[in-house]
Amino acid sequence: MAVADDALGRVVVAGERLLRPVENTLNFIAAVAVLFLMMLGVVQVVMRIRWLFAAPIYGYIDMIELAMPILAVLGISYAQRHGTHIRMEILILQLKGRVLWVIETFGSLVTLILIVLLTRFAWVFFHDAYLSGDSTTDALLLTWPSKLLVPMALAILSVRLLIQTIAGLRLVIDPTREPIGVVVPHDVAEQAREEIREALGEEGPQ
């Protein structure tokens, strides 16, 4: 990881060091859940075959619904770090230096405010379910553990956005510094290279 010799830079590097392993782990849990979801589907199909077992998994649909937040939110901060959440880049790609980082930092800041608010109110949603003992309709599984994942993941995303905001401010102050802790905008050619790497599992021409 990059080294920084300025105060803000050190804050960003320290934050990254703490947050990255957490994000990687959460996304890895989501990745395992993808595999698990697939296997569960296969088992369900096999177990349901009438002349073979005729024993579908009890509460299969309820289980899947409760497991969805693992896939839907756990990796949200990991995706933010990698700049996976889509956006319009028509303006951003025209900008350079301080103006670019002012706009980017503004974006991080308003997103941070939103996510902090949503964390708070997703917590309310969880807390209501916890207090009322809310459960699924068929298998009567408790919903609160699953609902708790949302404010948890959003809280981690808030930390990521805070780091990105600080990292952005650092570049607003001095745009010549090496960018760390921010997503550097990619032009279309670079995005294409990224797509190729994902599709073929390696980079560049043959």
């Binding site: 296969v42 939110v73 990991y78 996976t84 959440h85 608010l117 599992g201």
Partner: protein, 463 residues
Amino acid sequence: MRNDGLLFGIGYEDPILVGVICIGLLFGLAVLGVRISFAAAISGFVGLVELIGLWPGATTAGSIPYAKTSLYSLSVLPPFILIGFLAFHAGMTTSLFDAGRKWLGWLPGGLAVATVFAQAGFGAVSGASTATAAVFSRIAIPEMLEFKYSKRLAAGVVAAGGTLATLIPPSAILVIYALVVEESVGKLLLAGFLPGLFSAVIYGAIIVGWASIYPDIGPPVRGFTWGQRLRSVPGVLPIFVVAMIIITAVYGGWATVTEAGALGAFVVLLLAFVHGMRTKELKDALMETAKLTVMIFTLIWGIFIFVTFLNFSTVPQAFSTWIVELPVHPYLILLAILLGYTILGMFMDAIGMLMVTLPIFYPAVMALNGGPGATPETSPFGLTPEQASIWFGIIVVKMAEVCLITPPIGLNCFVVNGVQPQISLPDVFRGVAIFFVADVITIAGLIMFPEIATFLPDVLGVR
């Protein structure tokens, strides 16, 4: 419900004005590069607080990330995305292209036609347009160049053929459309099949026509015996197995779409292991699947916060009423909407564009069709509401895909140039131009003959 207009002091005095302000806010934030999902959530949050007050608005917004993602119908997305990431490792691309070349090589421009159909076949195990273009840039372009095909044709066909993957099931974007407009996922998936094939046939016909006029750009490749042709078939069977699992499950009802997706992903995973995929590659594919899945789900809940607000603001209803009362033929309005998509597609990614625009345009198109009580006799398009909804979905998804091959973004063209740098970007864009013409013909065909989209879901009576 409070009415004090907490933020702008407007509130329910003029909900439409609040709606317009927040739509403006969404586009303003999007232009400044705020992630689309968050831009939509911010605008929706602000709008909800303005219209129904801080606590009710904020708690509504806070419940959506869970409520709109913990749905069984959405659990089909992760296995579909996984199939896409594993498909290359399963090694089916080479056998598809090989079979295509032996069966179709004798046509004028035969290798290019073979590429189109191999890409359509690959679309049956992948929903990713750019990935399909990347894979075929690697295997089909060198072969075409070896047989003295023009660089432009070789590059153009691969860039354009990649877009076929999004219509042919499994298609993540059609699942998302189904979710946003509350239509059956199974129906949309099935509906994409014929239009995908239709599009491939138009591409094929254009290549044959072009190569007949200018034989130099794509000479036929002859000399394959029937024995060689038949021996190429077993190599493509796994593709048909996966496609059949998904289609027969949806049609026969022996499994839900999610289970079929899981089974399809499992088959592709086994094939990939047989083909020598390493554990490291599986882990990468799973991490990428998780990352892409969370991106799509974030987009879903972000947009739904916005949609919840929009419905309070009554903007969609007002827009529909306005459009229906316009003294213009519904087909012209439809064309105007589609043109709007072409322009928007120049600046925005396909999924983002659909999600942002559908909450407004979809109800308008449904109203144009005659609303919930429309019958084929009363509808200007001759479609029931359900048929119209499927038809419009297929058309907009095809539209969104066209943007992958047109400037200024044209990501597929950049992908081809990235894999085969000896073909310059201007050459790729020139080569793809003729396929843009093909796409215009396809879209015109889909508009004139909605049956191409609605036939399979109607006949197979999917729920």
